[in-house]
Amino acid sequence: MADNTRTIEIEVLRYHPEQDTEPHYQTFSVPFADDWSVLQGLQYIKDDLDSSLSFRWSCRMAICGSCGYMINGEPKLGCRTFLRNYYPHKVRVGPLDHFPIERDLVVDIDDFVGKLEGIKPYIIPREPRTLEQGEYLQTPAQRDQYEQYSSCINCLLCYAACPQYGLNPGFTGPAALALLHRYNADSRDEGWEARSEIVNAEDGVWRCMLVGYCSEVCPKGVDPAHAINQNKVNSTLDYFGVLKFLMPKGAAK
C-alpha cells in the first residue's frame, strides 16, 4: 500500500430525516495517499470512522454516474476528484444542489428519471428493419452527429449547475434535453415530431437562460447547452412551419 502520510480535513454534510431538523456539517480527519479520490476519503470515513454516513457510489471510474457531489461548492464526481488537489486546505462535500436530500449525500433523483422517461429516449424508426436485414447503415460522420450526446452518464452534475433548474424544477433540464437531441440527431430515428412537444413546451428549451455552466461541469465532454441551443433553432423553425419543409427526415441533423 502507498503511504498515507498526510491527513486532510473532510467536512461532510450530514442530514438524517429520522433525527435532524436541519442539515449540518461534520468534520473528519482522513489520512490519505497521493492517488486517493474524494470518494476514497468518504469510504475511509464509512469503514473506519462513522458507518452511518450515507452516499452513493459504485464503479470508481467515472462511468456509472453514482457519485456526483458538491465538492467545495462545485458539482463534481467524487471518484474523479482527488484529495491532493485540496490539501493542505480542507475539502467540503455536500449533496448535489437543486435536489431534495434523502440523507447525508444522497439526493432524490426521481424527478430527473421521470423526465428522462418522458422524452421518448429510444429509436422511433424511420424504416423498421428486421434482424435478417442486418444493421442500419450509418457512416462515421452520421454517428458523429449524435455521439457526444449519447455519452451522458446521468450523473446530474449539470442539474446541480443549472440556475434555471434551481429556480424552476419543472424545467426539463440539460441532460434530458441533450438525450432528446441525441435521438433526434440519429440518422436511424424519425421521432423528432413526437418529441417536439417537449422541446417547445414552456418547460422545454426556452426555459434555458444560456448560462452554459452545465457544459462546463460535464465530466464526459457532453455539451448540453449546445444541444439546447440547436433545438431552440429547430423549435423556431418548427413554429413557423418550415422545419418539415427543410428537413423532412428529422430535425437537427
Binding site: 500500500m1 502507498a2 503511504d3 438524517h16 429520522e18 433525527q19 495517499a33 492517488d35 464509512k46 469503514d47 473506519d48 458507518s51 452511518s52 450515507s54 452513493r56 457510489w57 459504485s58 464503479c59 470508481r60 471510474m61 467515472a62 462511468i63 456509472c64 454516474g65 453514482s66 474523479r80 434523502e102 440523507r103 444522497v106 432524490d108 433523483i109 428519471v113 428522462l116 422517461e117 429516449p121 429510444y122 429509436i123 424508426p125 428493419r129 434482424l131 442486418g134 444493421e135 442500419y136 447503415l137 450509418q138 457512416t139 462515421p140 452520421q142 454517428r143 449524435y146 455521439e147 449519447s150 455519452s151 452518464i153 446521468n154 438525450l179 435521438y183 440519429d186 436511424r188 430515428d189
Partner: protein, 597 residues
Amino acid sequence: MQTVKVDVVIVGAGGTGLRAAIAVAQADPKLNVALVSKVYPMRSHTVAAEGGAAAVTRDDDSLEYHFNDTVGGGDWLCDQNVVEYFVAHCREELIQLEHWGCPWSRKPDGHINVRAFGGMKIERTWFAADKSGFHMLHTLFQTSIKYPSIKRFDEYFCVDLIVEDGRCQGVVAIEVATGKFTFIQAKAVILGTGGTGRVFRENTNGGIVTGDGMAMAYRHGAPLRDLEFMQYHPTCMPGTGLLFTEACRGEGGYLLNKDGYRFLQDYGLGPPEDKPRNKFMELGPRDRVSQAIWHEERKGRTISTPHGEVVHLDMRHLGEKKLRERLPLIYELAEEYMGIDPAHECIPVRPGIHYTMGGIYANLKAETPLPGLYAAGECASNGIHGANRLGSNSLVDIIVFGQMAGSEAAQFSKSVQNSNAALLEKQAKAAEDKALSVVTKTGGKERHSVLRREMGKSMESGCGIYRTAPEMQATCDKIGELRQRYKNLNVEDKSSVWNNDWLGALEVGYLLDVAEVIVHSALNRKESRGAHQRLDGYENRDDVNFLKHTLAYYTGDGPPRIEYQDVIITKSKPGTRAYGAAGVAADEQRKKEAGNG
C-alpha cells in the same frame, strides 16, 4: 409488508436483467414484469465494460472459429451445446441492439466495424469506442422505457427468494430510501445479479458486485458451479484495480517488463511482430497473460511501485489521435487518475480480479435446478466460459442468455399458478424478520468492514493467479472463521432511511458464502486448468479426473458439499491449448487428425 403480484420478477437491471425484461414484454405484453435493482439501472456494472462484444461478422470468419476459440480459450471446460447456440445467436442480438440505437463504431461505408481481441482467431469484436458496456446498458435501459408492462423497482435491495412447493415464487426486497420491505410474488424469477469480484481486494468491479444472486440461490439449494475459476485481467491500475481494456492491446499496445522487453514471447505466445496478430503475444488469452506477469515478478523483471510490482502497457506508438478516437476512456483514466499521457508514457499495470466464470448452474435455457428460477449473465454458469472467458464474450453472453431467460420465464409463468398466498406471505415475513435481525440485534462486536477486508486479503493469498494447497487451506479456515464472526456482527446504524451500513452488512453475508465456495472448489480441484493454476504437484490439466464441472451445495454453517458433473462435449475433443506459433502448429495437427479420422 406490501405485496406486489406479477408474472415475472427479475433481480438485477444490468444488461442481463434489462434484456430479459424486454424479452418478457415482447413475448407477451400482458405479462407483468417487476425489474428489481439495488441501484438505478444505468449504475449497473455492465456500464464499466469497455472493449466490446463478439459476433462472427467478417466474410473470412465462421461460427466454427468462434466456437473453437471459445472452447479452447475455456480449456475445454465449456458445455459445447451451449457454446454452439451462443455463437450462432451473438450477431442477431448485436444487430437487435443496433436497431435499438446502440452507437457501434462504423466503417466508412456505414457497416459495423470490428476490432481484434485476445484469444480470438479473427477480428469479431463490435465496439462503441472503449465504452461498449456503457452504451449497451444505456441503450437497453432507454429502450426498456418503451414497454409499459415493465415496472421498475429502482433502489430495492433483494434479501431473499421465496421457495414454496419446490418452486421459486418471488423475492423479498428492501426499499433503500425507506427501509420498508416488499414481497414481490411471481410465477417465475430471473436472476441477473452479476458476478462476485468484490470478494477480492484488488479488482476491477464496482462496489455493487457482491454476489447477491449467487448467494441467495445457493442458500435455497441451487448449486454454484465452477466458482474456482476467477479471472485475473492482466492490465489493471495499481492500487484501485481499475480496468485498462484488452482493446488497448487489440489496437496494438505492447506489454513490457522493466527492461522494455516484450516478455510474452518467453511464455509460448511469440514470436513478436510489430503489428497485433490474433492469438499471438499481447493478443493471448487473459489467464496466460496474467500468469506470465506473475512469472516475470518472480524473476525480478517487473517494476516496483508503492502499489506493488507492475509491468508497462506501452501505447506510445499508436499516437494521440488514434488513442483519443478508439480509447477515450482509457486516455481519461490514465490522465486524470494517474497523471500519465499514454501517447507519450507507458502505463504501469498489474493483474486484478475481473470476472467470475462460474456461478449459479443454469442450462442452455437459463433454467436452474430450482424450478421457476432462471439465471443468466455473470451470475450464472451456463457453460460458455469454461475455465477462462475470452474478452468480448461476456457482453454477448448477457444479451443472448438474457433474451433466453426472459422468453423461457415468460412461457413458464403462463404454465403455473402460485401456491397459497398465505403460505407465501408467511415465508416472506420470515425473510423480512431475518434481514431485520441483522440490524436490530444488539450485543455484537464485529464490524462488517473489518470482515470484508480480512476476506479480500485472504482470498488474494489463497486464490490468486497461482495456488497451493496450504494457502488454499488457510483461506478455507479463514473464511470459515469469518462466517462464524459474522454471526457476532454489530451494525451501528439502526435507522431506516438509506441505511447502507445495514445493506453493506447483508452484502458481506453474501460475499462470505460465495467466497467459501470459491476456495473450497479450488482446493478440491487437483489439476491446473485455465484460471485455476496450482504449484503443488498438480501443474497439469487432468482430463481423466477433472474434465468435470464443480458443483457446490449449501450445507448451512459448514463448508459446501462438493460434487462433480460431466462436461457436455459435442464436437471438440480436449486438445492442446496453445497460442502463438505453437498454436498455429497445434491447429495444423488437429486439422490433419480430423482429415485422417
